[in-house]
Symmetry: none
Subunit: 198 residues, 4 copies
DNA sequence: CATGAATGAGGATTCATTCAT
DNA sequence: CATGAATGAATCCTCATTCAT
């Protein structure tokens, strides 16, 4: 990175960045945003120096931004892959299920994302991503309303509610080790169906 | 505090502590949990040195704990005072409305509380308060179920959902300056009624 | 003290100073020279403010100096009162015995003195007192030599040795709670007699 | 040290640590234990910031412990190397001589050690080292007693006396610039011989 | 590319001391 | 005289970042 612009990263560079990003995710999720220092991240990544991180990232903010980008990309891929359904209601349910499945498989990703969002709200992406996320969900809801599947509600608000519920599930998973995610998912599906159906 | 162990606080001391606590709340809410250093808090409180904070609080954790205690006390008083209603559904609605009213009047209190909860999960109160909060709400829901006002759902889960929704409203208020809280409240009331009614 | 010179202290002033000095002695002896802060001393003295100490003493050094003066005065009085004997050897033995008795009765005084001497050697008195102490003891030894009771040795050196032995006893009493002072005293008497007799 | 936990020290690191340790020794010996702050030590070591010390040592206690270890290792090597003799009395005399020679050549080492021992009694090594030191000397004395070289005395007490005498010599060397160490040594040898011989 | 040593700003905290009441 | 609140310098320590090798 030093001299070269942002355009092309070598394979090695990409691998190193990914390695560091994942170490950062685990460190943030398993300890604390405040305690996720370069030293802690380098240690977890098996790096011998924090200089390595500074070499591959323009600064701490850049690393955090990349963490957000990575988590969101992984998350979106995962959710999109299993959100296919014939009806809007079906896609909404699939979205909820996919969210909770991703949470079960990649707890640290989402916990890290949540911590970054609320602890460092001026991250380049934090706010923007949340908004675009919400916009996509609002579109889904609107299409469901047009199809007569959903009752009449403010789609932006309802999208916000649904994402809040998802965030709440993440927070509770983070805080309570033995949280019953299966029951939660089914209760959540029922609640959201009741709240949205016509 | 220097010499005295801890018995009763003088009037002056209570005033100073309150002043510092409020400066801490505003600093956390308006910048960042990470950036809420003693220096930043002292500057906002108009203190001549960070030593003043250490003089009045046993340490940073003590200050943060007091912030949580203060916010929660104010919040609880406010909500309790306007949660009277004949039915469980009425009390639940009043709870939602009171939450959003408090948020409108004391935005910084709730934003600070939310940031502390997710950024510093080892705070004395953070986890405990969340759990006891949820338990009280679950009780309300259970009494509504017994009275036939609410459908059959897992009360602990539903209580978590409702608090998640509230937290989401706080987060969005924090992130979007012009967020329409009135619309949000009415939409939220409808959604929660739909999700809980029999 | 504020305005008035050093000449006359009122009775109350003297009492306060003595109270503070004794609290300082106990604090230094029971914890650490470094941890003997004004706050710790004031707490032990039952004072409500460290300002009280600053009011009665010109500064920390002044307090420490007064501690040294007090300990030494008490110590000297005690030792002189029981050092009467017909021979120099007798007076030397009485000196040793008196030292160890004082140590048994006023352990904290001597431990504090020792700590101050080695931790803060630039105290006004520390060095001077040690020297004058040694000089007096050397005089005693010289008179014993003239009387033919002691062999020929460098009296200044021997005085230093004897005081070193005494300091060692203090240090060991300070470090080992169950140290057997009685045995130590008798062994010490024998050793010193052997080392000095003709 | 930042990232690496602790395996082997690089050459550079060992050099830096040694440099800092020696700066600490000199600072403690030439001023005061209390005034041996990281700032003072860093200044003397020619470091650009106190952060450098924290980079190489886990904390102040770690530095102080290393100082003790270093001084004691140097001291022990020196003394052991010249304590060979046929008789216990010879080894005792050699011990005394070696002590005073080391003191002449490495005054600061011993002054620092003495100050640490009496000022910071909770140092990892302070008390333990003193006790093990004394035990070794007591063994020597006991073997001399068995060989009929020494009279009957409590070996633990006598060992304590001898170490007290050595500490006294250190203290006096520290306090009096022009102290006559040669005379002191010969007087001390005579005194100890008289006190121990049969 | 990678390493590890170095840097210096900033973190919380403690302390002796001052001063209005 | 006594109180306790206030001050600001100094403490140890952590951190992101830089740079020579």
């Amino acid at each position: 990175m030093a001299v070269r612009k942002r355009d092309a990263l070598t394979v090695t560079e990409q691998a190193r960045r990914a390695q560091i990003v994942h170490a950062a995710i685990d460190t943030i999720a398993e300890t604390d945003y405040a305690r996720a220092s370069f030293t802690a991240i380098a240690r977890r990544a098996g790096l011998s120096s924090t200089g390595m991180i500074s070499y591959h990232f323009a600064g701490k903010q850049d690393l955090i931004d990349e963490v957000m980008r990575t988590v969101l990309a992984d998350f979106t891929d995962f959710v999109v892959a299993r959100s296919a359904a014939d009806t809007a209601a079906g896609r909404l349910a699939a979205f909820i299920v996919a969210n909770n499945e991703f949470l079960r498989e990649h707890r640290n990703h989402l916990v890290a994302m949540l911590r970054i969002q609320t602890a460092a709200p001026d991250s380049e992406n934090a706010g923007i991503l949340a908004a675009s996320d919400r916009a996509k969900l609002a579109d889904l809801l609107a299409s469901g309303q047009r199809a007569g599947e959903f009752r009449d509600f403010d789609t932006d608000m309802m999208a916000g509610f649904i994402l809040s519920l998802r965030n709440g599930v993440i927070a509770r998973t983070a805080a309570e080790p033995g949280f019953d995610l299966a029951t939660c998912t089914s209760e959540l599906l029922t609640a959201i169906r009741s709240a949205t159906e016509v």
